[in-house]
């Protein structure tokens, strides 16, 4: 039974954790994810769930404790943001390569500096090669739904990889919006009991977690991990199907919004996608053929599927909320462009840097991007470099040159 209520993105994650009632949650506070461990600690104190909360002295310890718990056979979750996840860095790789199905709520915030607390994807993008599955949300509803699907994906025998459930700091984490929840029993039945196969506390099976691997074995381990990431794609789709059967809410690797006959497309992730949808609807009313590809799953990267979905477009803007200082664009730009090349697409592309450190994005600006795409396809403009959107210095800004 659906329960219609309203809550923030952080409350939505905490509510999901309450319904899942994981075994262990080690966490260290950092804005803007602090509320999540706060809410969960209150639920434990009130006797609503019996999760073991471990107050640790740093995020490095939080991820280490999550690893220990997961290796022992427990279902472990944590939450963090920005520099907090940066302090986990070393352990993120160890967790993934040890094939531990930890679930982390990441409330995206830019890495310092300059020091800033607002939304940016530089934290998760920095960890894009760490071996974690990454799933992004447009709003509070999606972050709730994604979190409920995370354990099923992470713990699946074909996968056994940690999962990061991402949402934009403040923009969704602190925004109260309408949301539809589902009753506890339906969620518990969907998520199920965790039944690990190999774990340290199993008496009849001696095993080691994270030992030194000599060169004759280490590369094979990495290949096996890469294969698990590839298999995760199908598992993510299967889990989404099961979720849809209960809730009626459909999820894929990405969402195609009015994309089928679109000549001009925006590719983006996270909260900006809601703003893009409003721009798409307004321009469709004028008869303009515009659409959105909203990427939900960044790791594993669905390159083949993205290439197929965008192949018919004339011009595509790929939006990055993370500067990689590569001097030729951001991570989403690089990977989507590569996917288009492999799909033998002929579309013109432009990689746009937007929303850094929480810089706001308006519907009018997205409409401006679609207008630029029309000019790009007509050969009236070109983008040898990657432009910034929304800069105060007009001479450097995409729409004010």
């Amino acid at each position: 039974m659906p329960i219609k209520t309203r809550m923030s993105g952080n409350e939505a994650v905490a509510h999901a954790i309450k319904q899942i009632n994981p075994d262990v949650m080690p966490a260290f506070p950092i804005t803007p994810s602090t509320e999540i461990p706060q809410f969960v600690a209150s639920m434990i104190a009130n006797g609503e769930i019996d999760t073991e909360f471990i107050p640790v002295e740093s995020e490095h310890s939080a991820m280490s404790a999550a690893m220990g718990a997961s290796a022992a056979g427990a279902r472990a979750v944590t939450a963090t943001s920005s520099c907090g996840m940066a302090l986990m860095w070393e352990v993120l790789y160890v967790a993934a390569s040890s094939r531990l199905p930890i679930v982390m709520a990441l409330v995206n915030r830019g890495l310092t500096g300059p020091l800033n607390i607002n939304a940016e994807h530089s934290d998760s993008m920095g960890a894009r090669d760490s071996g974690w599955i990454q799933i992004y949300a447009e709003n509070n509803q999606e972050v709730y739904d994604n979190f409920l699907q995370a354990h099923r994906i992470a713990e699946h025998k074909d996968v056994r990889l940690p999962v990061m459930i991402c949402q934009d700091g403040f923009i969704t984490s602190h925004a109260v919006q309408n949301i539809t929840l589902w009753e506890d029993q339906a969620i518990r039945d969907f998520v199920g009991e965790y039944q690990p196969e190999h774990y340290l506390l199993r008496e009849d099976e001696a095993m080691a977690v994270g030992p030194y691997a000599l060169s004759p074995y280490c590369m094979e381990a990495k290949k096996a991990q890469a294969e698990a990431m590839k298999r995760a794609k199908q598992v993510i789709l299967d889990v989404a199907d099961g979720f849809e059967k209960i809730t009626g809410r459909h999820y894929g690797l990405f969402e195609e919004y009015r994309l089928e006959d679109a000549e001009y497309a925006v590719v983006a992730m996270g909260s900006v996608c809601g703003t893009v949808k409003d721009a798409v609807d307004a321009m469709r009313e004028q008869g303009r053929k515009v659409g959105l590809l909203k990427l939900r799953v960044f790791r594993p990267f669905p390159g083949r599927e993205i290439g197929a979905a965008l192949r018919h477009c004339k011009a595509i803007a790929i939006m990055d909320r993370s500067e990689s200082y590569s001097s030729q664009g951001g991570p989403l730009g690089a990977e989507v462009t590569a996917a288009l090349y492999r799909a033998k697409a002929s579309a013109e592309t432009v990689n746009i840097m937007y929303g850094l450190s929480g810089r706001d994005v308006r519907v009018e600006e997205i409409r401006g991007i679609f207008e630029e795409l029309e000019k790009l396809a007509a050969g009236e403009v070109s983008y040898p470099e990657y432009p910034y959107l929304g800069l105060r210095d007009g001479t450097e800004d995409l729409l004010n040159r």
Binding site: R6, N139, D168, F170, A175, V176, K277, D278
Partner: protein, 193 residues
């Protein structure tokens, strides 16, 4: 009535402008609306100017940007009138609500020629008479509901009573004062002509 009402709150950290915005979203949800209430933080410290926003609609809200052309603005601290452009983008068929002890003659010259409606409320006086403590967000919330018309006043009072009963379950003695603050603010808020 508008399909979408957009409201911008200006306050200082610690005065409850964010709380007022979230409370308004909450009570509008109770009245059956689609809502979005969110803060925009500057420096994280008491007294720094902060902005908070509400979207209240009959339709799904998808946009995630700040509000640049609000229908209504609330100013929780009148010292902000000297430093923040509170009427920026404010629609002239909307209005601005200011918490102040000052008169219209003193306030109007600070509004840069804004031609829409201006409402004043002395929230300090309301708080002194009803709460015994200065929490301007409670009276400002009631006044904003009245001037914006986002919901019927009896529905607002009924839903606030329910949510305050829940919020103050362990402090029932403050419930009556809060309800009285809402009612007094509805009477005290005055249009500046």
């Amino acid at each position: 009535m508008r399909h979408l009402t957009e409201i911008r709150w200006h306050g200082r950290g610690g005065q409850g402008a964010k709380t007022a915005a979230l409370l308004l979203a909450d009570v509008a949800f109770q009245a059956g609306k689609q809502v979005q209430g969110f803060p925009e933080y500057g420096p994280e410290r008491m007294g720094a100017p902060i902005t908070a926003y509400d979207r209240i609609s009959d339709r799904e809200i998808r946009v995630h940007s700040n509000i640049y052309e609000p229908d209504f603005v609330a100013v929780v601290d009148d010292t902000l009138l000297h430093t923040v452009d509170v009427t920026a983008g404010l629609k002239e068929d909307g209005g601005i609500l200011i918490n102040t002890v000052k008169s219209g003659e003193e306030i109007l010259p600070l509004l840069k020629g804004y031609a829409g409606k201006v409402w004043l409320l002395d929230a300090r006086k309301v708080c002194a008479a009803t709460l015994g403590k200065y929490f301007p967000n409670t009276p400002m919330l009631a006044a904003m509901v009245k001037i914006s018309g986002v919901m019927d006043i009896p529905v607002f009072l009924r839903e606030m009573e329910t949510s305050l009963q829940h919020k103050f379950a362990r402090k029932p003695e403050v419930l009556e004062g809060n309800l009285k603050a809402l009612r007094v603010a509805l009477e005290e808020v005055t249009e500046c002509v």
